[in-house]
Amino acid sequence: MEPQKFVQVSETEWRVEPFGRMRVPAIIYADRALIEEMDDKVLDQVTNVATLPGIVRASYAMPDAHWGYGFPIGGVAAFDAEEGGVISVGGVGFDISCGVRAMLSELSVADVEPHKQALADALFASVPAGLGSRGDIRLDDDEMTAMLSGGAAWALERGWGEAADLERIEEHGVMPGARPEFVTEKARKRQHREMGTLGSGNHYLEVQEVAEIFDAAIAESFGLSKGRVVLCIHCGSRGLGHQIGTEYMKDMAVAAGAQGIALPDRELACAKIDSPIGQRYLGAMRAAINCALANRQIIGHLARGALSRAIPGATLKLLYDVSHNTCKEEPHRINGEVRNVFIHRKGATRAFGPGHPDLPEGLKHSGQPVLIGGSMGTGSYVLAGTRKSEEKAFSSACHGAGRRMSRHQAYRTWKGRQVVDELAARGILVRSASSRGVAEEAPGAYKDVGAVVDAAENAGLSRKVAWLKPLICIKG
């Protein structure tokens, strides 16, 4: 995008004043290089979102923004139901509550090295990944309803995970307001064999090394130290979430006109929050959030099992579990008063700052961990939410770097075997069911996540805490 199209407010804040049907300004957080690299659709989409009814303050885009479905990926927008605000399927995504869970071991890299192959094999055998992979867990109708209401707490009651996990998950592991009755039979059927599975595409389970610390105090309160081994899980609500997104996307595309919502782009299909279809989607989406939380809770448990089999006595403690595709009702200060608004974070992560009442005691001083997945090559980052992020973007931050090249282009550029061998030469073991899948996920296919997190820090959205280097990558 050309920087001249924006009013540059600071090194990392770019603004478009309302024009046409925009009700609020659009604000993109990025440095100049990232703005220049962003596709033009980002400008179209972030300004289109600004036209939607009931939007408050501004339509935001994060430093990793790229072309999405109506909303840019990396888009943040809040709506007031009392002002006719809307809820949008594209503003949440097809993988509802896709997110990242980071778990800490007591091990150092030196402890893991002699067992790396065995650990990679154990994880790959324990966590089903890839298209057609099947979980062992079968839920009858009643159990599925319980899972959709109970999220990670339901999983814990069934024996997956530890009690201490719950407070380290957004919403303390249970999304309130879930309405399982609004989740269709088809969505339940699509989830039938998928509990405890990783999925495919950019989903992963990685064993990583804390390679660099940027903020010693916060790192210490998070339990991160250089050389410590961590395990991260990136996946979402699986088939159930995808089916809900699919069904409501079409329903809203049909209904928006009837509600008198002028859509600049049909992809922005949405509905008034206070409408029957808006409420049905809200209830179903919250149920899908619980599905994602339950799924990561189960996979975390499976990972604990695999780790202790490969390295007897090894344990994992949950640092935090974040979601980056949600719409949540949260209190925020707007024009001096606190209002409950519905915040869409599409490919954007919640980033509550220090002191936030929703954070558990152990994190109140540091702020919420924000987990940013990178590619197999660039590694990942742990950030911390800041107080400033509240006024900047309703306490939101980026979620990952985004692709530099299409899947097709990546598959033509690299062979899966070649990627696996090159990473192995760097000490990174890859286990995957699909050679083509690995090629499409090649490190070179992704943008530099380092530039994204630097811009997020400079913009005040979050603070850099640590950089994690992969040791083992399990991919679907």
């Binding site: 479905y69 997104g245 985004g402 692709r403 299409s406 499409e440």
Partner: protein, 149 residues
């Protein structure tokens, strides 16, 4: 005596994938709406694996309807995604008939074989992005959209 070559596909029927950032676009072209829809479905299989690797030995029936052509394409592709996900199957041949905005079809395929098909990704859903069904200048039909992977 050698086997005769299978009849070459009429040049108007074809599918292709197109680039879209994080995901992928599927596009079908054909002499009729139904043919374009069938090719778009084949393009979707191509996102996962080489459609020529998918044997057409089992069939599944599908019927959908929608208020307009484009939402009909969306419903069609999403119906296939649902069948693939719940039956663990891939499909390579599609017999489609469209009457106004009602579509009925037979999907031909086989059970997913992870070793042989090596599926690259999983398709989450068909989206409204770049969704288009149109008659081209040469009279052929085009049907496309982006699928989320």
């Amino acid at each position: 005596m050698t086997n005769p070559e299978p009849a070459a596909k009429p040049p108007m029927e074809r599918f292709e994938l197109f680039a879209h950032g994080a995901d992928v676009g599927v596009r079908g072209r054909g002499p009729s709406r139904a043919a374009a829809f069938a090719e778009a479905a084949r393009a979707m299989t191509a996102v996962l694996t080489d459609p020529d690797k998918v044997k057409a030995n089992t069939h599944v029936s599908v019927a959908v309807e929608a208020p307009d052509d484009e939402l009909l394409l969306l419903e069609w592709l999403n119906a296939i995604i649902f069948e693939m996900a719940t039956r663990d199957m891939l499909f390579s041949r599609f017999e489609v008939s469209i009457d106004d905005h009602r579509l009925s079809a037979t999907l031909w395929g086989e059970a997913l074989d992870r070793a042989r098909h090596e599926p690259a990704v999983e398709i989450k859903g068909a989206t409204l992005t770049a969704l288009k069904v149109s008659r081209e200048a040469d009279g052929s039909w085009l049907a496309q959209t982006v699928v989320d992977v």
